[in-house]
């Protein structure tokens, strides 16, 4: 599986980039740091947009990052099929950049929430979820203040009818997301955005009490190797 190169993007205020790189490395791929201010994707095979508070989450989460020079390269590349995973702030950026529909808004509780969250995998056909079983129940940490997924009725209906909802919260919705949505994908299943954090659930010793996050990374590696 070696040789696969997964870009990990750092914006000012990105927090989980080292964690994401470590998770990529543990899965056997090479993490490639990508800097927001460069117009350069460094020829990577896939991109991970990690969590954090890019630009302090000022204005709206992801609103300013969307305009970073790197995004000028990433947006067209993603549209032409480059696999992209956005977690938390990365998901917010993907929505702000219109690579995924809808938006992430203030948690209904009005509190930031960090907890180990039950999640059901409802689409295992995306580039990032092939190593899950369809309908598999997993545990990943969530940690965000603005993770309530909203979209227009038409968009929601379309997401649901085309199987583009990838993850749903189980055992209590942490943020009031519509239809318990925790993550979604684009039409072709190459771009996935979710609020939970797979990169914090890849090692026994640290992070959440699960290693369910590993399958994201093994999924993309298999896809890249088989491609």
């Amino acid at each position: 599986m070696s040789g696969a190169r997964v870009g990990v993007v750092t914006f000012p205020g990105t927090l989980d980039d080292q964690d994401a790189a470590r998770a990529v490395r543990l899965a056997g791929a090479e993490p490639v740091p990508l800097w927001h201010a460069d117009h350069d994707l460094k020829g990577v095979d896939a991109v991970f947009l990690p969590g954090g508070f890019s630009y302090g989450d000022y204005l709206r989460c992801g609103a300013i990052s969307r305009f970073a020079p790197l995004m000028d390269e990433l947006i067209p590349a993603a549209r032409s099929g480059l696999p992209v995973l956005g977690t938390c702030n990365g998901f917010q950026i993907l929505c702000e950049a219109h690579l995924l529909p809808g938006a992430l808004t203030r948690n209904a509780s009005l509190h930031y929430v960090c907890r180990d969250q039950g999640i059901r995998v409802v689409n295992n056909r995306t580039a990032w979820t092939r190593d899950f079983e369809q309908g598999q129940d997993i545990v990943l940490p969530v940690k965000h203040g603005e993770g309530r997924y909203v979209a227009s009725d038409e968009t929601l209906a379309e997401l649901e009818s085309t199987g583009r909802v990838v993850f749903r919260y189980l055992g209590g919705n942490p943020n009031g997301s519509l239809n318990d949505i925790a993550g979604i994908t684009n039409e072709t299943g190459t771009i996935v955005g979710l609020m939970p954090h797979p990169e914090h659930a890849v090692e026994e010793l640290v992070g959440a009490p699960s290693t369910d996050g590993r399958a994201f990374f093994t999924s993309i590696l298999k896809k890249l190797v088989n491609a």
Binding site: L59, R60, T105, L110, S152
Partner: protein, 81 residues
Amino acid sequence: MARVIVDVMLKPEILDPQGQAIARALPRLGFEGVGAVRQGKRFEIELDGPADEAALADVRKMAETLLANTVIEDYAVHVEG
């Protein structure tokens, strides 16, 4: 030098938990007679030049692309005063 205001509010169909929390708190604080509250954002933008049509068009574009997320928010631009 002029000041232009951009008001950004969640679209009516989008849940506004902050507004709701305030509306719920009001009776407890002894305020009656409020039907609903919605909370949005207000931006005060200081222009280096006058708030002429060209400048306002610029601010509208700023609102459309950056200050508001038109998937969930509406905006209004006006000159202060």
